[in-house]
């Protein structure tokens, strides 16, 4: 009994336990409270309340409907009386005057446009008529003085927006806009327009079975070229979707990531020996190389990109060199840590056989650190594919450039969607590839990402 009493005071132990519990309780309430206060500060500092005013929810509708549908414009210029039918109102999507789609018909001097749900729009010489089942006939007369509207009801419904110079009728089946000089009907269609072939291709509008039939038949649609080759070339050179440029951009992005990562690994490998304590006893060299790594990492990809694009101009080389410089710092640090953790026994064993310094490193150290290095390089290859998309947007290379251009024009959202899907597929397949290579080269246990 006396033994226990000696050196063990129950009351101090209790006081300690109580203090510890109190501290724990304080942390349990204090940390969430601090986080909450911080979030409140952010809420006002980021002006989240003002966001509701600035947010343009109609843009969401445009964006969403554009991603899965496209619109065809039928437009009449009142001065020339010329009617054009164009997909997305683009030159590349304009129908030839003698090959209009079957829902746009010529009727003497008038043009008749069928819309879904039995609605019709007529561009007549004297007026524009919109026949809406369940509402009636809307007659809009254009004149240089102004626009007059003749509706079946006294007050106009909310889907008609009329002024002296412009009338817009927005219906689910389509939209009619009439100004003094032109009248335009929009009809929406599901899907991405002209994704496979453009209008000037003989394969446009053919079903998959028809195309398959053409592919196997000997009859050449375009003389001197087999049908499959013609199809491939029409698809590849599609002016609307530019499949060739997109494929090249994806390749360029992966190339940038590959060059940046591998170049950095090659540059960092010898330097890492200089930064490792067990290989470079000299303090000065070690200190210098380590600070170089810190500097390369600290300057950051963004600043390197800016500095390098001043010298080399915009382009993929600038992007890959920027990644190379930043990652040399990162790899240098990681590799030299791996070197310092290498087991010295194997080196000792080699030394006992009379091996020189190079041989000791080659057979005693490199086999130990190769799995670590390989797994880190492969991990960065995947993560740099994503970075290359972002850096590409700054230096003007790869899929990042196409993406930012498409987003900034703010109208080709179907292209944005397409590029996003391609980017996702690209990054995810690089992820799978690097994971597969990792387990293949190093074994299951090293399939995980290196611990920070």
């Amino acid at each position: 009994m006396a033994v226990i009493d000696a050196g063990f005071d129950l009351s101090t132990a209790k006081a300690q336990a109580v203090r510890m519990l109190e501290r724990k309780r304080l942390i349990a309430f204090g940390v969430p409270a601090i986080v909450l206060v911080y979030l409140v500060y952010i809420f006002f500092s980021f002006d989240v309340p003002g966001l509701a005013e600035r947010a343009r929810l109609d843009n969401v509708r445009i964006l969403l409907s554009d991603t899965y549908s496209h619109k065809t414009h039928v437009e009449r210029d009142s001065r020339t009386d010329k009617v054009t039918v164009a997909i997305e109102r683009e030159n590349k999507g304009t129908y030839a005057a003698d090959a209009w789609p079957d829902w746009v018909k010529r009727d003497g001097a008038s043009t008749m446009i069928d819309l879904p749900g039995d609605s019709h729009v007529r561009f007549d010489p004297d007026a524009v008529r919109f026949d809406i089942p369940g509402y009636g006939l809307l007659k809009i007369v254009q004149s240089p003085l102004g626009i007059t509207i003749d509706a079946p009801t006294e007050t106009l419904p909310s889907w008609i927006n009329a002024s002296e110079s412009r009338v817009t009728v927005t219906r689910p089946e389509g939209r009619l806009t009439v100004t003094k000089t032109r009248a335009e009907v929009l009809r929406y269609f599901f899907g991405w327009e002209l994704f496979w072939f453009t209008l000037d291709s003989p394969f446009y509008g053919k079903s998959a079975t028809e195309l398959l039939g053409l592919a196997v038949s000997g009859e050449e649609v375009r003389p001197g070229q087999s049908n499959i080759a013609a199809m491939a070339s029409d698809f590849w050179n599609n002016a609307m979707w530019r499949h060739k440029d997109v494929a090249w951009a994806i390749f360029e992005t992966i190339l940038m990531a590959f060059l940046g990562t591998m170049g950095a690994a090659i540059a960092a490998f010898p330097l890492a020996f200089l930064a490792a304590k067990n290989f470079t006893p000299g303090l000065l060299a070690r200190f210098g190389v380590r600070r170089l790594f810190d500097f390369l990492r600290g300057v950051d990809g963004l600043i390197w990109t800016i500095i390098l694009s001043r010298a080399f101009g915009p382009g993929p080389l600038t992007g890959s060199l920027a990644m190379l410089l930043t990652d040399t710092g990162t790899f240098g640090k990681l590799f030299s840590e791996a070197l310092e953790n290498a087991d010295p026994k194997q080196v000792e064993g080699l030394r006992s056989t009379g091996a020189n310094a190079v041989q000791r490193s080659r057979f005693g150290v490199i086999p130990q650190i190769a799995p670590v290095i390989l797994s880190q390089v492969l991990y960065y290859l995947e993560s740099n594919t994503r970075s290359a998309t972002i850096i590409g947007a700054i230096v003007g290379g790869g899929i990042g450039l196409l993406l930012t251009q498409a987003i900034q024009t703010q109208k080709d959202w179907e292209e944005v969607t397409y590029y996003i899907i391609l980017t996702l597929v690209m990054v995810m397949s690089m992820d799978i590839l690097s994971g597969w290579l990792r387990t293949r080269l190093i074994g299951k246990s090293a399939g995980h990402q290196p611990h920070p």
């Binding site: 980021f46 010298a311 080399f312 915009p314 382009g315 993929p316 996003i420 995810m428 992820d431 990402q449």
Partner: protein, 288 residues
């Protein structure tokens, strides 16, 4: 006896020659691979060089022109430096705030998603693949894409960048967190289950105490990465120090003192955050 000894010797020479042949073959393979790899790298650099606006060799002498000009001007206008630092400090705070909030929100999302997608812990085991794919997609989406689309909807400012980085963080941290979860001991969870604890209670009391240090360590590393990402996003269109840097650089010669100040702020911030976070990560992983 003599026979046996001769047999041994013969086998030994066989083994030796086999071994040497194997080594030679291995060396040849790795040599071929190495040559292929170097050829790939060289042709890749050649290709990007051709696609670049300015070539590598023409650009090399100019490499130090811009930094020299910048430093020279910054030194001449050294008295303006403190003023510039103060002037751009709010933008820096905004960049750090974007990174901090997105790390915070992203980590919270990642905790939930990673718990839902870990075998043995998941609330709905059948939905594990769904949550995994969700994280894969969030991880694969580059921040810039989400940020630019959100800028179109929400207008400029820090919020689009914050959401974009947070979404990416959910995916990136979620994967790491679920690796941590897989190593967690299930006994406390089972114990809590036997006394009738709900799923939330089991996770909060049974799993969290085991995984919290690793979670924190990964989140700190992510914060470092997110500070860089938020600076880059600013440069491409969201707010913060990146946007200021873009403006300052476009002013050109004569106004480089502002750009130099921003460079210094960014450099110092990244170094400081790097050091602090690596200090605490070491502490967390090796124990207090």
């Amino acid at each position: 006896m003599a026979d046996l000894a001769i047999g041994h010797a013969a086998r030994a020479t066989d083994i030796k020659s086999d071994y040497l042949a194997m080594t030679r073959r291995k060396r040849m393979y790795s040599g071929v691979l190495l040559i292929l790899f170097i050829a790939l790298l060289a042709s890749g650099f050649q290709l990007t060089n051709d696609r670049n606006a300015g070539g590598f060799l023409e650009g090399l002498p100019k490499l130090f022109e811009f930094p020299t000009e910048l430093i020279w001007e910054a030194m001449q206008k050294a008295p303006a430096l403190p003023g510039n630092l103060v002037r751009y400090f709010p933008a820096l705070v905004e960049t750090i705030n974007i990174a901090a909030v997105s790390t915070l929100l992203g980590a919270l999302g990642a905790i939930v998603l990673s718990l839902l997608s870990t075998r043995g812990l998941a609330r709905w085991p059948r939905l594990i693949p769904v949550f995994r794919r969700m994280m894969d997609i969030m991880r694969a989406l580059p921040e810039i894409v989400i940020a630019l689309v959100l800028i179109f909807i929400l207008g400029g400012g820090p919020v689009p960048a914050m959401i974009a980085i947070a979404l990416h963080t959910v995916g990136a941290l979620g994967k790491l967190f679920s690796e941590v979860n897989e190593n967690a001991d299930l006994k406390p969870v089972e114990g809590l289950h036997s006394v009738g604890a709900s799923w939330f209670q089991r996770m909060w009391l049974g799993v969290m105490p085991q995984v919290a240090p690793n979670y924190l360590s990964y989140a700190l590393l992510r914060f470092e990465i997110n500070v860089r990402a938020s600076a880059i996003l600013g440069f491409v269109g969201a707010g913060g120090i990146g946007a200021e840097l873009r403006v300052a650089i476009s002013w050109g010669t004569g106004r480089y003192d502002a750009a130099a100040a921003i460079f210094q702020l960014l450099f110092l911030t990244i170094i400081v955050i790097d050091q602090i976070s690596s200090h605490y990560r070491n502490k967390l992983v090796r124990g207090f």
